[in-house]
Amino acid sequence: MTKIEDGKIIDPRVAIQIHSSIERGNIKKVSSIVLHRTDSTTATGTLNAYANGKRSGAHFLIDKSGHVYQTASMLKMCWHVGILLPRCQIEKNCDPKELKTITALIHEEGLSFGRRARNLSRHEVSKKYPLRYPSNSDSIGIEVVGKFWPSEKSFEKPTQRQLESLKWLTEVIANEYLLNIRTDVYAHGAIARKEVTEGAQILQYLLSGGVAQ
């Protein structure tokens, strides 16, 4: 029987390896789940980075054998989202004033491209979910081990065990926070300034049960 106690999932399938260095204050409300890929071939690099005091990370990590590590309490924020994309502009439903603000921020002269993207992200974070995409303050992050191949612009195909563990874990979290898997789970590459394919395969599996080759 799976239980959640003090923000931790108590189940034989989950190894609790909390790294306080990646816990960044309390989450007030969990509104969504963000799916990440590690861009690595094993879980070791990520776990070592956390153990060495790195400050960014996600709440969960799923290795290739499907083993689930809980690396931060779900009561705590983790820095896992990064630079947000402007949701209303992507989904083409901004009001004219907001669209003008977004356009001004991303076209601001005299600033580097990265600085403009950071400024726009800061503007996005000031909005309330779901007017914006999930941020660190209201989402749970799940990392799934898998390498990115720039030559193919795609991530390594997840193993069947990873997919099964991800489905189980997502359902546990969604049940706990009353989330809708169809609308409250996001691929990282679709919401932040990352490789667009990050998290897409695994979200597709959650939604349709299959993964493209």
Binding site: T38, A49, I83, G114, K147, S151, R193, K194, V196
Partner: protein, 131 residues
């Protein structure tokens, strides 16, 4: 007063030194091909019209950008829709390369070589647009 002058001189020298260092290293590189690409799925891809990199910029980038591990790249890379891609000869070895306007870069050869770079301090001093 004297201390302030020394500080100012040092502050001015850092970009110069970075540029000189970049110039020396980039001589061992030959950017064979270069082409701009834009991921048009993003609505703000229009900013890409003002993003330009020369062959010299690319050689400088791979001299001064910092090679980072997967964790750091995953955490800090800003991938924008504006990119340049191509091939580069580094000391007789040919690689594919890619640089995003956010300052993140790849150097790769199939799945054999797969390196990640970020434009940090030294890189920012000579290629400020990539910071």
């Amino acid at each position: 007063m004297k201390k302030n002058i020394v500080t100012v001189i040092l502050f001015m020298l850092v970009p110069c030194l970075s540029a000189c260092q970049a110039g020396q290293h980039s001589k061992s590189m030959d950017v064979i091909t270069i082409a701009s690409t834009t991921d048009k799925y993003l609505p703000d891809h229009e900013i890409c019209r003002s993003f330009s990199l020369t062959r010299e910029d690319v050689a400088i980038y791979f001299s001064v950008a910092e090679e980072v591990d997967e964790y750091e790249f995953n955490k800090d890379a800003i991938i924008l829709p504006c990119k340049y891609r191509g091939t580069i000869d580094i000391r007789g070895e040919i690689f594919h390369w890619e640089i995003s306007a956010g300052g993140a870069g790849y150097l790769y050869r199939g799945k054999g070589v797969n390196k990640r770079y970020l434009c940090k301090k030294n890189c920012c001093a000579v290629l400020p647009n990539l910071c």
